[in-house]
């Protein structure tokens, strides 16, 4: 099981014929993901390494009954690619692209939410956007819709993982993997200020997943997503959650690589996040290896 993607997911790649799109299409296939087609406007009707390429998401979706789209389109066209997939009724859209203008993301996220509500009101599956500027998602042993290294996902397990950072996702997944615990599903939600899915959106899915026993949340400075997650956990979660916060020593007002990782005034400080998790009885690891000990401790209770 796991959440959001599994071995039955049928994936199309928007921007498959680009450099990143091509190499990650191959890596996803190697992982075992059912990559069914690519979309590159203008290259419809051609073949790319055995995959049929279409001009539009709607065509690809109709021809292959696809239910997930992963986007590698360059920043200027990325939000438009999201809207194309959303209007084609794609239930899950994963935006990998980094550097998309924030105003474009605001507009796209709002429209996706409107389409999601409309779809659900009609009894449909809804539309969910993950990212942008994210590493995607993996359900261990089943499917990867993302750019994580395949070899850190050799050991399927029962820990859910959610992270704002790509590299720290790998770091945590490897630690869990090497500790013999392994992950169920990993969701990289992205490091941008405006993203489609937040920690608090993913936590209920893990809470409901019979294959997940505990959840690790990898947060960072900036914004208040960790605070919202803590509030959700305190009110709704029975499964144990362990947190980690990156950038605790970063100075105020300086943007730490991720556009979203900036402390502005009193918003986004590590103190605020630590306090929120403490109030929700969520242990926060000081170092990444401590995450493992804390998960073990939480599960043995």
């Amino acid at each position: 099981m796991g959440i959001l993607v599994d071995s039955s997911s049928r994936v199309i790649v928007q921007g498959m014929t680009g450099r990143e799109g091509a190499s990650h299409s191959r890596a996803m296939k190697e992982f075992g993901t059912q990559v069914v087609a690519g979309v590159t406007p203008g290259k419809g009707g051609t073949d790319f390494e055995g995959w049929p390429v279409y001009n539009s998401v709607a065509e690809a979706k109709a021809a292959h009954d696809a239910n997930v789209s992963i986007i590698f389109v360059p920043p200027a066209g990325a939000a438009d690619a999201v809207l194309e997939a959303a209007h084609a009724g794609m239930p899950l859209i994963v935006l990998i692209t980094e550097g998309v203008p924030t105003v474009d993301m605001m507009k796209a996220v709002q429209e996706v939410k409107t389409l999601d509500a409309a779809s659900r009101a009609e009894g449909g599956q809804g539309v969910r956007l993950i990212g942008g500027n994210c590493p995607g998602l993996v359900t261990n042993g089943q499917a990867k819709v993302g750019i994580m290294p395949n070899k850190i996902y050799t050991n399927p397990g029962r820990i859910g993982l959610i992270s704002r950072s790509g590299t720290l996702t790998y770091e945590a997944a490897k630690l869990l993997n090497d500790a013999g615990m392994g992950t169920s599903t990993t969701v990289g939600i992205g490091g941008d200020p405006v993203i489609g899915t937040t920690f608090a959106d993913v936590l209920p899915l893990f809470e409901a997943d019979p294959d997940t026993d505990a959840v690790v949340v990898i947060g960072e400075i900036g914004g208040a997503d960790e605070e919202a997650a803590a509030e959700y956990i305190a009110k709704n979660m029975k499964k144990p959650v362990v947190a980690f916060i990156s950038g605790r020593s970063a100075p105020k007002g300086k943007r730490m690589g991720h556009a979203g990782a900036i402390i502005m005034g009193d918003v986004g400080t590590p103190e605020s996040k630590l306090a929120a998790f403490a109030a929700a009885n969520v242990p926060v690891a000081d170092t990444m290896p401590e995450i493992i000990d804390m998960v073990k401790a939480a599960l043995s209770k």
């Binding site: 605001m106 709002q110 590493p135 290294p149 790998y170 770091e171 950038g247 020593s249 943007r255």
Partner: protein, 386 residues
């Protein structure tokens, strides 16, 4: 990209905002010239990319031409928080006591996945101070990113904030500010103070404007406004390589890694090891040897750096490429400070083999990021006699 006050005002003016008249001067003589032209009292305002100009003495009321010249002399060349003032804005002075000062601003707010409009009758002071002392005096409202702020919403917010004056004109100014934000990709725009005179007409006396770097490609007309001299010299060099680099104060360990998250955590780890990170440097994903070489070169140049901590978890980044870049820097004599590395992930074994072959005491590999950071911290602190 942060804009100067005069640049932010220029943009607001393009969107029809009623902005206080002003001109830029680079010499005291130019300041006098502008004051003479206006034929009234003026305010001379330092144009630097830091807050708190007023407190630092960078904003001065000048009742006469001579006083304007004198203030120009004082402010031009002045150092404000490490930045030299090269330009001043000379504006027509306004009789503040005859009216009221309000605050309006818009900021990218991840919690509402759009802009939040903020308005307060407590204008003229930093909004952070108002937020800390009297948060109830700030009215917040989510702006729809597709429609922008509508006049009725602006009026509602203005009424809630307790604004007095010509409500339609004040709301209109807020609507125009929203248009400027959306069309010019602002991450932050403030009009503060928004002055309302006895006639009830709003006037923008000062502004802060910051543009989303990701959107700069569609604002080619503003590219000339990027001022490299206003940033740290190493940050300028880093931008030519395309690195995400931030110079940090009081550091002694240079830090570089692949990915914002891992570098942020590396800073934390250096701190825990008892040293201070001198910089944030993300080489990005999939970096080749030449990029690593440039990164090592850049960090080595920093006189604050006494040791270098490299933290790589290779996904798309190949560890052997990282090793090659570091070795090249060593062979070229660029690398003179100890490098303590932790390299894991793709092509890890190849990287270790390459580094073992070189066998330089300057470059050491460690199994975990903690050991590598500890050693880098020890080396850096030892070099400083700590």
């Amino acid at each position: 990209m942060k804009l100067h006050e005069y640049q932010g005002k220029e943009i607001l003016r393009q969107f029809g905002v009623n902005v206080q008249d002003g001109k830029v001067a680079r010499t005291p003589d130019e300041v006098r010239q502008i004051a003479r032209e206006y034929g009234q009292s003026v305010v001379v305002k330092a144009q630097v990319h830091v807050g708190g100009r007023g407190k630092a003495g960078g904003v001065k009321f000048s009742p006469t031409e001579d006083k304007a010249f004198e203030n120009g002399e004082k402010i031009l060349g002045m150092d404000i928080k490490g930045l030299t003032v090269n330009k001043v804005l000379v504006t027509k002075a306004v009789d503040i006591d005859a009216g009221v000062e309000y605050y309006v601003g818009m900021i990218v707010d991840r919690n509402v996945q759009s802009y939040t409009l903020m308005a307060s009758a407590e204008g003229g002071m930093e909004i952070e101070e108002v937020a800390a002392a009297t948060p109830e005096k700030i009215i917040k409202h989510r702006v729809d990113p597709v429609t922008g702020l509508r006049p009725y919403e602006a009026r509602e917010v203005a009424i809630k904030a307790g604004f007095k004056g010509n409500l339609n004109k004040i709301a209109d100014m807020m609507v125009k500010m929203s248009k400027a934000a959306l069309e010019r990709d602002a991450v932050l725009v403030e009009i503060n103070p928004l002055f309302v005179g006895p006639d009830g007409i709003p006037l923008a006396l000062d502004t802060k404007f910051e543009i989303d770097d990701n959107a700069m490609y569609r604002h080619a007309d503003l590219a000339d406004w990027r001022e490299l001299e206003a940033e740290h010299p190493l940050e300028i060099e880093a931008s030519t390589y395309g690195f995400a680099y931030v110079k940090l104060d009081d550091g002694n360990v240079g830090v570089l890694g692949n990915g914002a998250g891992i570098v942020m955590t590396s800073l934390d780890v250096v701190n825990r090891a008892g040293a201070k990170p001198a910089n944030f440097l993300d080489i990005g994903g999939g970096a080749k040897a030449d990029i690593v070489y440039n990164a090592v070169k850049l960090v080595s140049k920093d006189p604050d750096v006494k040791a270098i901590f490299i933290n790589i978890f290779g996904g798309i980044t190949r560890a052997d490429e990282v090793a090659k870049g570091v070795i090249q820097a060593l062979n070229d004599g660029i690398l003179t400070k100890p490098v303590r590395m932790r390299i894991a992930g793709t092509a890890e074994d190849e990287a270790k083999a390459l580094l073992a072959e070189v066998g330089s005491p300057l470059i050491q590999m460690y199994a975990t990021m903690f050991e590598a950071a500890d050693e880098a911290a020890k080396d850096a602190n030892a070099a400083e006699g700590k």
